[in-house]
Amino acid sequence: MIELYILLVLMIVGAIVAIELKDLLSAVISTGAVGLVLSIVFLIIKAPDLAITQIVVEMLCFIILLRAILKKDLPFSKTDSWLFNTFVAAGFIAMFLFVAVKAFKDLPEFGYPIMRVANIYLKEGLAKTGASNLVSSIILDFRAYDTLGEATILFTAVIGVLTIVRRIGRKKKDEIVEEDDE
């Protein structure tokens, strides 16, 4: 278990570094580091599917973010008048943590989940779907409808990105603009 804790601390450190760094490039890179650590954590806590997905998604995010900031690492405007804002945020977070800690006590103990429904999956999954990867059998059979939604979200995002990068959005009145459909 000790390695899990080390990795978690690493993640938190990475996140703080990512937030506090002034340079955008370094910030993006340390976010990438957090993502990679996350995928290792997934591996340790026995979720190989997630580890694979996380690592590739992380790479893609990383590349896209790099694209966005490349050659744009302008100096920040260092206005320090955000002190008030910081206090409000810190207060909010403290409150949130307080409630969360109270709520954690009611959760089942770490490492011993209830697993009511999950046991059904574990017992009958193979017999009913024939897939030995239970995660696959859940996302594509028991809960395939969710996956349809998930695929649709990606589809929506693709169309959305294509929509946003259009050159000319609005036609001027009585003017024929050539449509730039790709």
Binding site: V57, C61, L65, W82, F92, S132, N133, E150
Partner: protein
């Protein structure tokens, strides 16, 4: 904890890219939390094998859900990056204090 870091970042920072990073980190945090609550001591990965029967597998359901939520996060991030890049194109800055055409 990580979630709070992300939240802090969103609330405090005034740079668009930083906000995006904050959202990403907060997403990681929620995903991680979901998997952690489903972890079982001495658990095994939920993949059956033909030779040995494995007992004490971890809960596969949250893993499936987190898979979905990772993809949702990816979709949101790409949308945000696309909007951010267009904003940069129009305004020439990522600093949100300088982007203020709309009030309230």
């Amino acid at each position: 904890m990580l979630f709070c870091c992300g939240l802090y970042c969103i609330l405090v920072k005034r740079n668009i890219i930083k906000i995006i990073l904050g959202i990403t980190i907060a997403e990681y945090a929620v995903n991680l939390f979901f998997i952690l609550v489903a972890y079982r001591m001495e658990g095994r990965a939920p993949i059956l094998s033909s030779e040995v029967e494995i007992v004490n597998m971890v809960d596969p359901l949250p893993q499936a859900l987190v898979l979905t939520s990772i993809v949702i996060g990816l979709a949101t991030t790409t949308m945000l990056v696309a909007i951010a890049m267009r904003i940069y194109e129009k305004y020439g800055t990522f600093d949100i204090t300088k982007i203020k055409e709309l009030k309230g």
